[in-house]
């Protein structure tokens, strides 16, 4: 099993881990020898001795705090948090119900805030922590039909950059990665011509791949990246 700081295995927490990007990251880091904790609203079909799954709504403060208490008592540490859980709903702003907008903002932004807050409390004890938040190319590309989703992801960028400063004295870095369209459930409702249009706006015109994301996350969380914080990397040259 891989060791970090010459002590125990790295402990990673990945939100939205039952499918899509989160599921890929779980498999990637378990294969790497890390201890991985994941969470999603439902169960995960992924089973492994080094994977522990929590069924939790990322916006439920009490449930999230209980989960962190369990992580603390079980592992006594948290090295990495990847805030991946997110929802999207493509629609014209004029046709977007408040309930949909609220759900997007709460899951994407408030969930990220809550997990950053609780993770930092655990990380600060060891003066080491790596937080990676998921944003989106929908922010710089200003994609029509994604106003609320993009706003929630823009909030994550600003939040990332500010808490990077607030947490630097605790040895915690906070960065963000903004994927291009990737074939996941999140974009299954988006017409193919729209996806192609988005891809044509990238410097490198191909759909994103799961390994494109894990590559950036790998870079942000490696111990040598302790001088890299508050940064946002958009994939595909956006």
């Amino acid at each position: 099993m891989k060791e970090i700081d010459g002590k125990n295995s790295r402990v990673l927490l990945i939100t939205g881990s039952s499918k899509g990007i989160g599921r890929h990251l779980v498999e990637h880091y378990v294969a790497n020898g890390d201890l991985v904790v994941g969470c999603s609203r439902g169960p995960s079909s992924f089973k492994h001795a080094h994977y522990h799954h929590f069924e939790v709504d990322v916006t439920n403060e009490d449930a999230v705090k209980r989960m962190f208490a369990e992580i603390s008592s079980k592992y006594g540490r948290l090295d990495v948090l990847v805030n991946n859980a997110g929802v999207a709903s493509m629609n014209h702003m004029l046709l977007t119900p408040v309930s949909v907008a609220r759900n997007i903002l709460e899951t994407n932004f408030l969930g990220t805030f809550l997990f950053c807050r609780e993770a930092s409390k655990l990380m600060k004890h060891r003066k080491f922590g790596r937080i990676v938040n998921l944003t989106s190319v929908a922010v710089p590309l200003k994609v029509e039909g994604e106003s609320v989703y993009a706003a929630s992801k823009a909030a994550i960028i600003n939040f990332t950059q500010i808490i990077a400063r607030e947490l630097s004295s605790f040895g915690i870095t906070v960065n963000a990665v903004g994927p291009t369209p990737i074939h996941t459930a999140l974009i299954k409702g988006v017409p193919d011509d729209k996806i192609q249009k988005l891809i044509r706006r990238q410097a490198i015109q191909r759909p994103g791949d799961m390994k494109d994301i894990s590559n950036v996350v790998d870079f942000f969380i490696q111990p040598e990246s302790d001088f890299i914080t508050g940064q946002v990397i958009f994939l595909g040259g956006v």
């Binding site: 403060e61 009490d62 208490a69 409390k121 004295s169």
Partner: protein
């Protein structure tokens, strides 16, 4: 009346805070110890760290989620973060309220 468990949890938080402090803080375990403001030893970042320690100790001791630095705490005329005694009193108050709410549910 401050529960002895609250006082002990706050004092454990003092121990943890001192252990981790790189500035050589010496906080006396006394209700009169001034934390923040005139005569206090902690700057705003130290206070954040200390409050987190207290939250974690209280959560472990009482098995309840607690957030100390909310709008209510920040808007009080006499800050609950001024002294260790004021902080313990505020924590006790929050725990009592939590218990009352739980009984009503």
């Amino acid at each position: 009346m401050i529960d002895e468990r609250v006082t002990n949890a706050v004092y454990r938080a003092v121990d943890h805070f001192i252990e981790q402090s790189e500035k050589g803080h010496q906080l006396r375990k006394s209700p009169a110890t001034i934390l923040f403001g005139k005569g206090g030893q902690l700057d705003s970042l130290d206070l954040v760290s200390f409050i987190i320690e207290v939250e974690q100790e209280i959560e472990q001791e009482f098995r309840i989620p607690i957030v100390l630095a909310d709008e209510r705490a920040l808007s009080q005329k006499h800050s609950p973060f001024m002294t260790l005694g004021a902080l313990s009193e505020y924590v006790s108050q929050l725990i009592d309220e939590h218990e009352r709410n739980r009984r009503q549910e």
